[in-house]
Amino acid sequence: MTASLDVEGLAFAYPDGHQALFGVDLRIERGERVALLGPNGAGKTTLVLHLNGVHRAGAGTVRVGGLEVTRENVQEIRRRVGIVFQDPDDQLFMPTVADDVAFGPANFGVTEPELSLRVKEALDAVGVAELADRSPMHLSGGQRRRAALATVLACDPEILVLDEPSTHLDPVARRELADVLLGLDRTMLMVTHDLPYALQLCPRSVVIDGGVVVADAPTRDLLADTAFLAAHRLELPFGFAL
């Protein structure tokens, strides 16, 4: 079976010469939920922006659902990779939530009546159907985060990429988001510093540091290895132990 995501030997340097990735290998099977961990500046965001063709690989390949990321098929790649950005205010830019959720699928050629159906399904999946006609400005942090998730779900992505999904959420909103994510049954790559959240949501974790993958193991085993965590500027919050 083709993997949802297959990254092989990916290397990348920014135009100013700064090398961010030095040969990253990462394979994620369909239906897997994987946490991408690592200290600030490790190359996590750079890797994520390769997945949907914003950055082009200096060397190596990225395949999404078997399709290689190239200039020609970048539009299909962007449909297959649904990135939920860290700040929902960056993602929600339309006057109403429903318009925003419709933006992605409409760009990918979905037309009425299917478009309305997609919008409704996506809003239902994250439990904010009643907010369809509201302005994103008037939503709570948790509602905004879920609305941002819906904008990506509506594109029916092969893999969902979440950038720090739990930031700025109160404990209840954080747990509600986890419930939604666990109920989605989709392939997921979650970039996060929130290690307990990674443990709750992702059975497998990949640690990236200095532009290479330094560990790929079950999340629980990884987080129990205090010496390893310390070596890569990671640590569990106060009071946590595995």
């Binding site: 914003v54 990779v81 993602q91 830019f93 006057p95 990918f108 994103p136 400005m137």
Partner: protein, 254 residues
């Protein structure tokens, strides 16, 4: 509040005027304003009749005059200009309450005042009866270049985000004892305006990235908007047509 269109200029309602498609209202408002501007300034009665037409629209839209008046205050700076003109203009003068006023200046001031007021009232009426997003989709239906519509859409959304950011920055300054009372103490405020600009610019880049990630290629998807029948157009254009006829009659009367 808290409903989708909680904008200070919009007054939610379900009147005939509210239900008209946005693009029809934009055309009507535009023609109406053109008629007002084209009316000769000496045709005083015509302006009165045009005002009555507007009153008719307000009654149909059920907008109370007080609500409109407070929002029409935006015109105030222009009123100051209009009031100054009779004093500053040259030419034949008249005496009024001990003051010497230039006739030409009086007429010029009146011209600005009445046309400005009617224009602002028309705009406020349009904004009061049309949600912001409909205004933008109305514009795009009227074939306004899509880039302009995208910019308007983004501006409407991010004006509030940036304003909220500015409020937080001010609060953070004030919390640290910043209390500018004189111009030379404004340095911190000015610098935070600069910081706000940079932040907004960076946000712009992040928003663009998020749009690209959802397949944006430079053209907004065309969302369907309500079309208008000939009958709707005919009825809606009546006040505008009346304003045009009145303006034309002004040249006779004057």
């Amino acid at each position: 509040m808290g409903a989708g269109h909680a904008h200070p200029l919009y007054r939610a309602g379900d009147s005939v005027v509210h239900r008209l498609p946005a693009h029809v209202k934009i055309v009507v408002a535009f023609v109406f304003v053109l008629a007002v501007v084209a009316t000769p300034r000496e045709a005083f009665a015509v302006f009165g009749l045009q005002f009555l037409l507007l009153v008719g629209v307000w009654i149909a839209a059920r907008i109370p005059p007080g609500w409109l008046a407070t929002r029409a205050l935006i015109e105030a700076p222009f009123v100051v200009l209009a009031v100054l003109l009779p004093f500053s203009a040259t030419g034949p003068r008249v005496e009024w309450m001990g003051m010497s006023l230039a006739v030409d200046g009086l007429l010029a001031g009146w011209n600005i005042l009445i046309k400005g007021t009617l224009g602002v009232l028309v705009s406020v009426t349009l904004a009061a009866t049309t949600p912001l997003r409909d205004l933008v989709s109305g514009l795009s239906r009227l074939r306004v270049p899509s880039m302009v519509c995208v910019i308007a859409t983004l501006m409407l959304r991010y004006l509030e985000v940036i304003a909220a950011e500015a409020r937080r920055m001010r609060l953070a300054r004030v919390s640290r004892g910043h209390d500018p009372r004189f111009v030379w103490q404004l340095g911190a405020t000015v610098r935070s305006v600069g910081a706000l600009f940079l932040r907004s610019y960076e946000r712009g880049e992040r928003v663009h990235l998020a749009m690209l990630s959802r397949g944006y290629t430079g053209a907004m998807p065309a969302f369907t908007t309500a079309s208008a029948s000939t009958a709707t157009w005919t009825v809606a254009l009546l006040p505008a047509a009346a304003a045009v006829v009145l303006a034309a009659s002004g040249y006779w009367l004057a």
